[in-house]
Symmetry: none
Subunit: 228 residues, 2 copies
DNA sequence: CGATTGTTTCGATCGTGATCGAACAATCAA
DNA sequence: TTGATTGTTCGATCACGATCGAAACAATCG
């Protein structure tokens, strides 16, 4: 009876509040895990799993397995543009959600990415280690030099003595806010733990935000300067 | 808890099959009455009335009273573009409606997009005007050159003498089937009217399909050749 | 003025789909 | 291996919203 593509199908898909929340969370460009998306959407992990299955089946999102996590992200820019267009229509219709928080700038500055530091701070640390020869990029791989190991050890960051085959010591992770790499892997986790243990920084409630104290901030910049 | 526009609201609105059918029927550009839309969507007039109320409230459609009829049409080109974008996503997701009948190729070839011509014909006309210097892209904007105005005028396409601030003379609209731009705006509407008035093409019953006669087809290709 | 057609309101029904508890599977750390 | 974390499947529940019958309302026409 009717011809043409079934727009009701995808519209209904986006039309569920939980799924819409997930998609909007992914609009930031960062890949999120099923649990994170569940919290973001305000539903239980089971429900989240159900919704993610539907979205993936329709090709709106794609997933990347990494360890025991599944990182979900938008399928491509077409989907992002569609969501943008819908946001525009919703805005002018006066359909806005309750309140808009000041959290986003803090997220861009420094946040937890799974188990390591991301955001401007994470990118700066990565760049500093790289320019000082403590870290070398080798194609897809990333290696900590002898000098780098000594530097971190002297600082007080504890690292396992020998490399583990299962989980790499160093790994680069792409940052959404800065579109630059930052340090992941065991060393990345150790570094974040170090910052938290030393009191340089704290996590904020249940969010991904990391705040540096004034003291911690100056120490961080002294330790991870970009000169030399 | 969440910030940003409520895309779930409008998505849910479009997500209902009956409403989606109505909106797609309105994509032909013609204004339809509540009863006609009811038949188009396959529901009773009561249900139709209910849905139309919701859509109008959200600003997706507008109505014009005329006698004892109420003529409904899409609110503006923004809504039309959103629906086009959704069609594109639905297509590539393989979500076509039940009988993917022989109508689909015809839709890809040439169809009405709100009030102008889309599909292969629309794209070809756009490309032809562009390569011959009758149309110039200027970032997001699109301008008709003096030569272009002369060309259309000589052809017999009537255009307003001076630009209107509210509605642009030329506007590019992205095509879901071809993933290319075609001409929208006042000039786009005028061009479509010209094709229909001259008998080069006809609309098919109540659908969005436009069929060119043999005569019209050859004239179209002669007029909008891609060489030079 | 009634008669006819088009549209809306109300109330009740009903099916679809979101949701969560609980159990299960997979992966990693020690 | 064991234990902990993460993710999924299954089943049952439940609420929301689409739908339509009946009837009221509105606007034209003869």
């Amino acid at each position: 009876m009717k011809e043409g593509p079934n727009i009701a199908g995808i519209a209904a898909l986006i039309g569920d509040p939980a799924r819409a929340n997930m998609l909007q969370a992914l609009m930031t460009g960062v890949a999120l895990t099923a649990s994170e998306l569940a919290q973001e959407a305000g539903v239980t992990p089971q429900t989240s799993s159900f919704h993610l299955g539907r979205l993936a089946e329709a090709g709106l999102i794609k997933l990347r397995r990494q360890g025991r996590h599944k990182y979900y992200s938008l399928a491509d820019s077409d989907v992002a543009e569609l969501l943008e267009a819908m946001s525009g229509i919703a805005m002018r219709a006066g359909m806005t959600r309750v309140r808009t928080g000041p959290k986003e700038p803090a997220l861009r500055r420094s946040r937890i990415c799974y188990n390591h530091l991301a955001g401007e701070y994470g990118v700066q640390a990565y760049d500093s280690l790289l320019t000082r020869g403590f870290l070398v990029e080798d194609g897809e791989q990333l290696h900590l030099t002898g000098d780098g190991r000594g530097f971190l050890s002297e600082l007080g960051v504890v690292l396992p003595e020998k490399e583990n085959k299962r989980r790499p010591l160093c790994k680069s992770c792409l940052d959404w806010s800065a579109r630059r790499s930052h340090l992941a892997g065991i060393a990345g986790t150790a570094l974040l733990s170090f910052f938290l243990d030393q009191g340089w920084a704290k996590r904020v409630d249940g969010s991904r935000i990391i705040t540096f104290s004034r003291e911690g901030d100056s120490r961080f910049h002294a330790t991870f300067s970009l000169q030399d």
